[in-house]
Amino acid sequence: MADPGPLWSAALLPALLITAAAATAGLDAVLTAGAARGRAGTVRETASRAAAPVREVVRLLVRQPRRTTAMDVTLLRIGVVLLPTTAVLAAAVLPLGFRAVGDPDIGVVWFNALEALAWAAVWLTGWASNSALALIGGYRFLAQGLAYELPHMFALTTAALGAGSLRVGGVVDAQAGLWFVVWMPVAFVVYLVSAMAMAFWGPFDQPVGRDVSGGAGAELSGADRVLFFGGRWLLLVVAAAVGVPLFLGGGHGPWLPGWAWVLVKTAAVLAVLVRVRHLVPAVRMDRYTEIAWLVLTPLTVLQALVVAVVVLGR
């Protein structure tokens, strides 16, 4: 670890992430309510709609929790707690401005490793519920994950390759002149798509989809449900936020200080991801798998080749 942030930043990070997740969930709630009941007439109504996720959390916490027969409580707890934990730990390498809680040499790999742990968390939750639909949800996530993990890894690799560093701070430094999104657009788009998929969000929400009555999270209630779905929102926020130092220049930008730029860019990426959920229907995975293997993987390999040639030619 080189030049880690101050100790209080580690305490601040979860609070910041939870605030961002609540804001994102609020935006999503406003859009959902707007689609169902028309535009909100007043500011007060909009605020009430935006507070829906908070009300839902309170409602879940005070209600009597429900248990299925013979559920594996230990594994369920591990799965449910692991999901938000991996999201927060993955965010440890995220620079707010130019300082992260920790900026290890291998930050990009660290982020990817913790994303993979989130797979395990979803499967554990689905399996431990002892319910067929939850089990199907858990299985789906792992089976589908294989289709989006490879393009995702190539996209991450491309950014690291362009900077010549696996350190997230190093990737940000390399974008002082030109943002990576300008000369690695394919990697950026693939990153965004697979980041949504990693957070089983939007068109990729089949693991918790309606056709399996909520899938992996179907049987969760009370605090378990808050942690699991809260962890999903955290994962989405972190996945979007990591796109900023990797492709959008991190804290680089005119006029504003670095941390403000990171917040603005992250909010913009999150807004796009939330909009995508409302604009794009669920992707059929049998189709997406073929697209992932036959289109996205070769494209990302080509993108990495272009970047490698540019880096070698410097």
Binding site: A116, A120, W127, L142, D286
Partner: protein, 187 residues
């Protein structure tokens, strides 16, 4: 300063995780106990200053154990995975084998003349690792890569029931593959 206690905590946790693999009678618990043990090993490698190798162990073992757990539970138990199943088989043979392996490894630790460190650790261990793997060993790595890839393709070819003649006809001349599920790129 914290490295010493951390070493022991991770080491003992890894052993406890490894032992519990054989204590659990649920395949899911056994799989994830093994993953826990391997994650602790990854932590130990990071303590040695090899951050990249440590995190790669965490990444690869997580994906590997997650996928393996799915297949093990799918093929070895009822689909919901709720029938308990002991993890111990061939007790006598396994005991003998593991004792011999343990004795061999211990003897190795005690008898091998461990070299003392020459020079200083590199500033960037990851870069050093990449150079030493991809520099003089490039040919080995490429051969290894091709062999692994060939193995994967061969396994899929052996495992799949429908070959390309089923999909594209006897002369392989069909314009569209005859697949039960049409793919996403419109073939």
């Amino acid at each position: 300063m914290t490295d010493g206690p951390l070493f022991w905590v991770l080491g003992v946790s890894a052993v406890v995780g490894g032992v519990s693999v054989f204590r659990f009678d649920s395949m899911a618990r056994a799989t994830y106990a093994l993953l826990f043990s391997l994650l602790c090993v990854g932590g130990e490698v990071m303590l040695l200053g090899l951050d990249y190798l440590g995190v790669v162990i965490v990444l690869m073992m997580t994906v590997e154990m997650a996928v393996m757990g799915v297949f093990m539970i799918m093929y070895m138990m009822n689909p919901a995975g709720l029938t308990p199943m002991p993890m111990l088989h061939n007790r006598r043979g396994a005991t003998v084998i593991s004792l011999v392996v343990l004795a061999g490894l211990t003897a190795g630790i005690l008898l091998v003349p461990w070299p003392s460190r020459r020079g200083r650790p590199p500033a960037d261990a990851t870069e050093q690792l990449g150079l030493s793997l991809m520099g003089p060993q490039m040919l080995t790595m490429m051969t290894l890569g091709m062999a692994l890839f060939a193995t994967i393709v061969a396994t899929v070819v052996l495992a799949t029931r429908r070959g390309r003649y089923d999909r594209l006809g006897d002369g392989l001349g069909a314009r569209h593959a005859d697949d039960p599920v049409r793919g996403g790129v419109g073939r």
